[in-house]
């Protein structure tokens, strides 16, 4: 209590300095505990403040990058499809369509560490250790030819890395460079002699087709009807329609499973047009032989179990999903597992609603 009063008085002094009127406080909220602050206060600043202990080099990083990052960013940080390119693009900033990467554009190395540790891997954020993060950052730097492969990145060496575009930024100068030009009474008549069309969106033709949007609308509308109309009325309607074999599946459980599947969706795709990503396609996985997707590179551990005849029936999937690394030692699947049995049952029901292609 005395500490509280002391801090009040300090606060009062600060408040006087900051705002002329004494700031009112309400005594709401509770003190944040040191452990809580430590858990969330992870931001790393350009001067290296906030960097944790630990270290890593590009060689360590290459391996981690291949399993954790390469599915989107490419083996060499070159980016796949529309996913961000992390390397290359040096000296392109003053050209048409500059390529902005960690190497060519990012002014501070701290940003890379900060972002990877907190927000990556995509769909599995916050799971990398400090060592892994240092190693991945080192690999990205190496991919940009900014460090040698034996450079050990840690908080002690962090500021030794020179970022090529560190001096490439100026503060917002619109008030000086633009505002002064575009202020005042504008022209109302005879403002120009001729108006010629110089470019047309229809010629470029990149606008989404509205038919797709229409189809979505219909879908949305029908979902809405089933969820909001009175249950009795829906039941009556459903009886009138000949029920297909899906009647056996529990739609509520499948819907629940669809939500749970978001935890998987960063690495796995399912449904029409699904592709292998970090993890294999999961269409038809329930009841399938382990390792059944031919063009996916499974872990050795999984292939060994597959040869022993592992079938992904409900029991096996439940076991695997509850503790992947325990159930299948050596699996590439970097997922901690689903804690609740209901979640496991739901996600299996959801997966079971997709047949093999």
């Amino acid at each position: 209590m005395s500490k509280f009063l002391k801090s009040i008085s300090i606060g009062a002094v600060a408040a006087i300095l900051a705002v002329p009127a004494a700031a009112q406080t309400f005594g709401l909220g509770r003190a944040a505990l040191p452990e809580e602050i430590a858990a969330w206060n992870l931001d790393v600043h350009p001067d290296g403040a906030g960097l944790p202990d630990g270290q890593g080099d590009a060689l360590d990083g290459e391996e981690i990058f291949a399993t954790q990052c390469a599915a989107c960013h490419g083996d060499f940080a070159e980016g796949i499809g529309n996913w961000p390119k992390l390397a290359g693009g040096m000296d392109t900033l003053d050209r048409k369509d500059p390529l902005k990467t960690v190497g060519s554009y990012w002014p501070y190395l701290s940003t890379t560490f900060d972002y990877i540790r907190r927000s990556m891997p995509y769909g599995n954020a916050g799971t990398l250790s400090a060592d892994e993060t240092y190693a991945i950052v080192a690999y990205i730097l190496y991919s940009n030819d900014l460090i040698a492969d034996d450079f050990v990145l840690s908080k002690d060496t962090f500021l030794d890395v020179e970022m090529p575009n560190a001096d490439g930024f100026i503060l917002d100068d619109r008030m000086e460079t633009e505002f002064t030009k575009w202020v005042g009474e504008p022209c109302m008549t005879d403002c120009k002699d001729a108006v010629e069309v110089t470019m047309r969106a229809l010629v470029l033709d990149v606008t989404p087709e509205e038919t797709a949007a229409k189809a979505e609308t219909v879908q949305v509308a029908s979902t809405d009807t089933t969820t909001t109309a009175e249950p009795a009325a829906v039941a009556a309607q459903e009886q009138a329609v000949p029920a297909p074999e899906v009647a056996a599946a529990d739609p509520a459980l499948i819907a629940e499973g669809e939500k749970v599947f978001r935890k998987c969706a960063a690495c796995h795709q399912v449904g029409d047009g699904a592709k292998n990503r970090v993890g294999p396609i999961l269409n038809g996985v329930v009841g399938a032989k382990a390792g059944h997707i031919e063009d996916f590179k499974y872990s050795k551990a999984l292939m060994t179990r597959a040869e022993e005849g592992l079938i992904w029936d409900g029991e096996a999937l439940a076991g695997f999903l509850s503790a992947p690394k325990k159930y299948l030692k050596g699996t590439k699947m970097g997922f901690a597992g689903l804690k609740k049995d209901e979640e496991i049952a739901a996600v299996i029901a959801y997966l079971n609603s997709f047949e093999a292609e």
Partner: protein, 423 residues
């Protein structure tokens, strides 16, 4: 890519759909009288004879089915994945200024999460006397304010830097919405924690997997930033940051952190990913501007436009659109029908409000001639919305964000409209 005008489907389809919707009425419109009695009048219609829905048919209503095309739309080729992506508000089909939450554009970096009020925590730490944790219930006990503000993504119109690309106001200008927010001033929370005057910045981050952290100067944080939990009277929708988001009036949307979980008072900015590698503006010489937070004055004609063609023929025509400025209130909007040769001052539906959308109308008569429709906003600072040419002279074509140029719609004699650039 070899398409001629005739073969371009989206526009054509939009036109035909519009015509079909207008139906018999459109043909009979104008000065000409009806030749035959209208069965909609002379015959008893179902809706005039039997019942409609009872109350509770829809405990929380959706728009009527006939408005089913007034929806957010995505441009798939823009991003790799819808989880980290953006869609667009159907501004071509809305009127007034308030954007319903259900069709207000979404931008997520790691998807729209589901965070219960009971599980919500907001931490204030850093240079404060009392690092604090608030629950949702705590926030509701601070004095509240109501304010209407626009939120514009810095990338709105960003695809148009190099030329006319997307054919519709929804796609060129739909990364915007305007809502009435209820919340607690950030200043109140900072005072509650006893912020240190050495703290020149606050860092704000979200509870989602992206965390989407941004640094905001203390001066702004103490001025008008809100920690909001309601929008347009109801709880924030999931996609808009339920249960609590940050409101940073007039400044780029990326700073309006959703699912806000932490506010740190700092002496220097974090220089996070979202404020260095993104949301910075590269000029022609390769040097990039940073900390370009304010959204400059801007406007667009929402109708007629490519998705909202003229279907009623010649005669009375309402030209309407939206204007806004991150530096204050809109004071005037001019409209040109001839691509900027001559301008007429439009009527503002209401006097402009600071950092909120302003609706304008030009009530006019269309003679059926082609038009090059443009709008030009002015705000209380005297700033006049620039042309694309003026913008490019200063910034080149390599910028992504903060494109507030004057937009041109080429309206053809058949009423169809197209996104074009003019000299």
């Amino acid at each position: 890519m070899s398409d001629t005008f005739e073969s371009n489907k989206p526009n054509r389809r939009a036109f035909l759909r519009g015509a079909a919707t207008a139906g018999v009425g459109a043909i009979a419109a104008g000065a000409a009288g009806a030749q035959t009695p209208d069965p909609l009048i002379t015959e008893t219609q179902d809706w005039a004879q039997s019942f409609g829905d009872g109350v509770d048919a829809t405990p929380y209503g959706m728009p009527i089915q006939f408005e089913g095309d007034v929806i957010r739309r995505n441009v798939e080729w823009l991003t790799a994945d819808t989880i980290s992506s953006i869609n667009f508000t159907p501004i071509h089909a809305l009127d007034g200024t308030i954007t319903p939450q259900g069709c207000a554009f979404e931008r997520h970096h790691s998807g729209a999460i589901e965070l219960k009020k009971e599980d919500y925590r907001l931490m204030i730490n850093g240079l404060v006397d009392r690092p604090l944790v608030f629950t949702y219930a705590d926030l509701e006990r601070f004095p509240r304010e109501n304010h209407t503000y626009f939120l514009e993504c810095a990338a709105n119109t960003g695809m148009e830097w190099a030329g006319a690309q997307l054919n519709g106001a929804q796609f060129t200008h739909g990364m915007i919405h305007n809502m009435e927010y209820t919340g607690v001033p950030l200043r109140t929370l900072l005072e509650e924690a006893g912020y240190d005057t050495a703290g020149k910045w606050v860092y704000v981050e979200g509870a989602d997997a992206s965390s989407n952290g941004r640094s905001i100067p203390m001066e702004k944080a103490l001025d008008d930033v809100l920690v909001a939990f309601k929008a347009n009277g109801e709880a924030l929708r999931k996609e808009h940051g339920y249960p609590v988001r940050l409101i940073v009036p007039g400044w780029e949307g990326n700073m309006w952190v959703k699912w806000i979980r932490r506010i740190e008072v700092m002496d220097a900015p974090v220089e996070s990913r979202e404020e260095t590698s993104k949301y910075t503006d590269t000029l022609e010489n390769g040097i990039s501007r940073k900390w370009t937070w304010a959204m400059d004055a801007k406007s667009v004609v929402t109708s007629p436009s490519p998705q909202a063609p003229i279907t009623h023929g010649t005669g009375p025509l309402v030209i309407t659109g939206l204007a806004w400025s991150g530096r204050g209130a809109i004071t005037r909007v001019d409209v040109s029908k001839d691509g900027g040769k001559t301008w007429e001052t439009a009527r503002l539906a209401k006097p402009g409000e600071k950092m909120a959308l302003t609706r304008f109308y030009l009530d006019t008569t269309w003679d059926g001639e082609e038009m090059f429709l443009q709008s030009r906003a002015m705000d209380e600072t005297g700033y006049v919305q620039p042309t694309k040419t003026q913008l490019r002279e200063v910034r080149g074509e390599n910028s992504v964000y903060h494109n507030n140029c004057i937009q041109t719609w080429w309206v053809r004699p058949n009423g169809e409209a197209e996104n074009v650039e003019v000299s």
